[in-house]
Subunit: 225 residues, 2 copies
């Protein structure tokens, strides 16, 4: 049995759907690689075009600009994460167990469990850690939000918030706690690797410590009393 996960993306994310053509799939695959290698700031459509052997104009047929492409990549990541969470918490009764699994999925490197073809999920995870917040920290957040570009993030947050409420229906900040877990899973990872003084994980570079920190944070917060 060979299964492939296909994620349906919001039409406003692109000018032409990159999933439906060869060049489109190349753009996604290789933009992720290039951003991973040199960072989003130094990433240009010209470099990408040279990298995959096409022209700048060719890329512009798919994406308005590089920021839209980043939003696309992030939206894909969030959708994929939500799917993985559904998959890995399915049939689990205990909401605390569910939440543990979620924290684990957010904070540890991807064990490439669910195949998605033209995307390297491990590299993608690294990109989102380093570039993820740039997706919405812009002057046009609100327009982008109206265009539903962040829906996958909001859905993910809502889903985690739901599980938090299952753990403790009286907890007052399920969504804020959910967004805190998501952001901190990424930020503490970034800090651990690049600004270790901002963490207690030292030079160990061990993601399990981040999981332990987040579990402590979350479970003491939602504990009843």
């Amino acid at each position: 049995m060979e299964l492939q996960l296909q994620i349906k993306m919001n039409e406003k994310l692109f000018l032409r759907n990159p999933e439906l053509s060869e060049l489109g799939k190349k753009i996604i695959l290789h933009s992720i690689q290039l951003i991973y290698k040199s960072g989003f700031e130094s990433f240009t459509f010209k470099k990408l075009a040279e990298y995959i052997g096409t022209t700048e104009a060719g890329i512009y047929r798919y994406f308005e600009n590089k920021h839209r492409l980043l939003i696309y990549i992030a939206a894909w990541y969030w959708s994929w994460l939500e799917y993985r969470i559904s998959f890995h918490t399915n049939n689990i009764k205990d909401p605390l167990r569910k939440l543990k699994n979620i924290i684990h999925l957010l904070a540890t490197p991807v064990e490439d469990d669910i195949k998605t073809g033209h995307v390297n999920e491990n590299i993608l995870h690294e990109i989102i850690i380093a570039e993820g917040s740039k997706v919405y920290l812009t002057r046009h957040v609100s327009e982008d939000n109206s265009d539903q570009l962040f829906k996958p993030y909001k859905d993910l947050c809502a889903k985690i918030g739901q599980v938090i409420l299952e753990c403790n229906p009286k907890y007052k900040y399920p969504k804020s706690l959910a967004s805190t877990i998501i952001e901190m899973a990424h930020f503490q990872n970034f800090f651990m690797h690049h600004l270790p003084a901002l963490t207690d994980f030292g030079k160990h570079k061990d993601e399990k410590k981040i999981v332990a920190f987040l579990e402590d944070l979350v479970f003491s917060s939602i504990k009843k009393g």
Copy 2:
């Protein structure tokens, strides 16, 4: 009695010290205003030069590039925050009380208490909320870190971590919790205003709710037991 706070900045942050000349002070004051108005992405030295009636080359005498200027601004903000925290927690014995004050200082708009001359602290706070993480989310974090450009942030984090340890000497993640408070004070504010679905603060736009959330988060985490 007229007092003015002067913050000593790391020499590597600039090419020429902007505090020591008229143009320099104008650059700081007006760059903050311009970034506030249109965001860091659309901010250029050319626009800044026109805005303050000088030339592009003039600005480049003070700062290597606009990112260095942003780091300068952020470093100033972090130093200033640490000073305010010292000021407002001074002579308080109860560490829990101290921590409450710190959360309040981080998460609510500035009551312009300590004058600093050529900087508008309220606008500065807004900028850091929206642009703060761009300061270190780059490919050159590590070099910048070696140049001690983030020392004010690390000092701030260490100071808050200290207070956390005073509250509970056995708490295992004082620095990670400190960086979490700092980042979330900013992010939850940004989310509240621009992506409210990621928070539980709805359309109220009331910073006190962020304070309540952070207090709940922090105090349940460091509670002994």
